[in-house]
Symmetry: C4
Subunit: 222 residues, 4 copies
């Protein structure tokens, strides 16, 4: 690290703790995304066709693919936020812990959807609403994380254009409302809500990051 180290803000953790916080987050997200495979369960058939049994498990595969994409995109956005943060604080650390707590619960919500998506009656809608509510919570935690950072500009990397970031913050926040819509959709059609979660993740994969990237050119301290 050849750049001059700015002094740690009085309310901030040291730089090494901040880097470590992101490393732990990466580890947790990597394990959480891999645990999704535990939701794929080998069907136990006797002499019947394994093919039929596997085909009947399509909600498991659909939920697996959707959640894999959701966590993958979350990881990228999380990293995108953290590389603009130079010093974490205790408060930011706790917000991040809550965010991780919600992300780690995704395999549970995925399992819930896989088990109930094709059940007749209200339970399928409820399972999918829970899934969408978890996605909404994660999205809100992400907004809180970024909002907190923007209110403490002394914690940010020097190259971050704070004024510009604050201007784009409302648009960033409003994105969460799509998950509120998906909760409503869950009660109309569970399958449509699952597809909706997939499409939203795909949209974020292509749309979200370039804007923040433009604000954060490579610097030696990255």
């Amino acid at each position: 690290m050849t750049s001059v180290e700015p002094s740690t803000p009085s309310n901030g953790l040291s730089r090494s703790e901040t880097v470590r916080l992101e490393a732990l987050s990466d580890g947790v997200i990597a394990v959480a995304i891999t645990l999704l495979v535990l939701d794929l369960k080998v069907p136990h058939v006797g002499d019947e066709s394994l093919w039929t049994a596997l085909a009947a498990q399509w909600p498991s595969y659909a939920a697996y693919v959707t959640s894999f994409l959701v966590i993958g995109i979350l990881w990228i956005n999380h990293h995108s936020i953290f590389r603009q943060i130079r010093y974490a604080t205790r408060g930011l650390m706790l917000i991040n812990l809550v965010l991780l707590m919600l992300i780690v619960a995704v395999p549970f919500a995925t399992s819930l959807v896989a088990d109930y998506l094709t059940e007749p009656g209200f339970n399928a809608n409820l399972a999918m609403a829970m899934y969408s509510a978890l996605a909404l919570s994660i999205s809100v935690a992400m907004v809180v994380l970024w909002g907190y950072s923007l209110r403490h500009p002394e914690l940010l990397e020097p190259y971050v254009d704070v004024a510009e970031a604050r201007r784009s913050f409302p648009r960033f926040s409003i994105g969460s409302s799509v998950y509120a819509v998906l909760i409503v959709v869950s009660f109309i059609s569970a399958v449509a809500a699952l597809a909706g979660n997939f499409v939203v993740a795909l949209y974020y994969a292509f749309e979200h990051l370039p804007k923040t990237r433009a604000a954060s050119p490579d610097s030696p301290s990255n």
Copy 2:
């Protein structure tokens, strides 16, 4: 690493082994915290309400949130100790292994609490007492780790104020006694003891680290 490397103490592991020890610890803690999701189990209902079944699982969610916070804070305190240690020894390595062994058992204790918290009779109290006893053991292992380090100041980073750290050691140690109290509380009210564990973790999140941070400013070798 531009600083002059002090020679490894005769009883110490090399610097690279010490860094690796912390990296393995980080990996183990990241996996352990993520495995907590396996304690959240999808309820199997027929035509009954999934909502009722999910609501009846509240001890699982309460135990999940508490343990997530407990391990998260443990990780931060573990890191806070390790960044003041420049050279580990075999003894310190074994203490750390025992500490990790206890941390990795947290998902088991969490599962125990989730399954028994609302059972009538003594089993709920016992499950919660086991949980608090594990928290006590982890806290004591942390005290032993830090106490061992302070008795071998040649292992510490040069910027650590050993005299000051030794003065604050009794206060650091006494913190463990709160878990002894929580074991007693477990036998009066299991739910209160779980809430107590949550509150203690939250307290440590805000209170504990700033003191040690003050003693360890960023240095190029971090």
Copy 3:
């Protein structure tokens, strides 16, 4: 990093995001390979011989060893591709996410084979065909990843000989067809197809990488 940093291509992620992408991939692959152990299940016998029960589980051990080798080789080849990529793009990131999604599913396919390999009738063949189809999908995703990179040479490390890499691309791609053959073999003999997957992984362990390595000498930026 003392070398002069070339400017990020307009369609590329920053260098730090690219490094992170590979780190997440490494973490996911490490967890996926370790989760294979969950496919080894302790048999529950009463007074009968545990030895007989363990011996009857040979398909589990065969599938475990094969999948461990398969994922291990995949990891090496994945790393071999990524060290030639200097800047990822959103597209490349999504291809990589699909690749990881398929790799993480290997423990599921392994479990499927372990449970059905010695079942009489068509189900054994089908289970093994699914396993080979997953291997084919992974191989194709790897080809797409490398093909995409070669079509965007501005993303590659400066030392990569793009003309040479493009010439060897057809031979690299054709390797995938061996998995198509193994799907067919699965329907003739499931055991032979499992052995085939093992042999192919072993072949790639010794054969594949030296060629790409020759094209990528160590450089300070590695």
Copy 4:
């Protein structure tokens, strides 16, 4: 990295691939040691005493503690070998993959011991013999890894005293025979063999590494 990079030996992987190989090994070992917690299972009692049920599970706890120590020591010795290796080869990589495959199987062998240790009759002895046989295999794989490295001194770090390392190799190798003895002990007393595995791991924790450490002082390239 300020030291002059020696050229990669013709049969070696690049330095970055070698570092990565160790990082993947670390990740796999960290996950494997954490998965040991899955062998601790919450007992399901009705109105009976949870305490009695937990106490009856002592073989699970004994196996957990032993395996945690075994994998912890393995990790340290693995790291101790790898920091003396500058360039891996394909052969070394495969030996390492076999070693990891065996280490990852430890949670399975642990579960086997936990389930059968107190069963009456021969099954307890067999379970413990399998555990000891796995420990023997791991030990032999470690000897093969180090022996292979000593036969290719061009792969080692420049500071390694190859002549001295070769002289101490027979003593290093003979250590494996203790596990052959433990296989025999398993057939006399399963509990004694488990205790034996614990004691051997503890012995290696204190005894083994200092010798290799003396031969590998910290260097800037570490």
